[in-house]
Amino acid sequence: EAGVAQSPRYKIIEKRQSVAFWCNPISGHATLYWYQQILGQGPKLLIQFQNNGVVDDSQLPKDRFSAERLKGVDSTLKIQPAKLEDSAVYLCASSLVSPRNIETGNTIYFGEGSWLTVV
């Protein structure tokens, strides 16, 4: 079974530039997540989709971050304009069901992450 695919793996941009990350979840997974992980910290949920609808985006800085999940499959996370503090790993994850219905053996699967450095 193919895992969660993310691209690009690494990106270096100057502040005030824009960047976009792409995620292809595991086939059939209804729930898709974008997490931001700053070095030395745990992942912070930015946005959670159920199919193509937004379940939670309470921690997404909407003045500069946007995300979409067209057709309930692939997703794109965009940052415009980027700030120095946006330097982090952006992790995409997917699951068959919502976290409340997660069972052992049917869990959340993470991609390798997209590493962003803003200089």
Binding site: V4, Y33, Y35, G40, Q41, G42, P43, K44, L45, Q48, V55, D56, L91, A93, S98, P99, R100, I102, E103, T104, T107, I108, Y109, F110, G111, E112, G113
Partner: protein, 116 residues
């Protein structure tokens, strides 16, 4: 804000020893999960424990949950150098009525180093 807080922040042991990591959280939960993250990689799910469970085992992993103390522990027995990684707990919190919010909140993690 982070729901789970792991303790210790860093743990260094010799191969063959046991490693214990603790996680404390603040609100009621539906379930608590532990994940491993190797350096530069994504997170991998290790084990899930539900709020009505007290202990679970999976291979060399043992997880306990004490909802009265809002804490969990992850024990890795007979550690190996390959266990070197960061370990995170994540909680699926519930509201006062016991309904899950349906999202995972991660702690800061414990960095485990196992020396050969």
């Amino acid at each position: 804000s982070q729901q789970g807080e792991e303790d210790p922040q860093a743990l260094s042991i010799q191969e063959g020893e046991n490693a214990t990591m603790n996680c404390s959280y603040k609100t009621s939960i539906n379930n608590l999960q532990w994940y491993r993250q190797n350096s530069g990689r994504g997170l991998v799910h290790l084990i899930l424990i539900r709020s009505n469970e007290r202990e679970k085992h999976s291979g060399r992993l043992r997880v306990t949950l004490d909802t009265s103390k809002k804490s969990s522990s992850l024990l890795i027995t007979a550690s190996r150098a390959a266990d070197t990684a960061s370990y995170f707990c994540a909680t699926d919190a519930t509201n006062a009525g016991g309904t899950s919010y349906g999202k995972l909140t991660f702690g800061q993690g414990t960095i485990l180093t196992v020396h050969p």
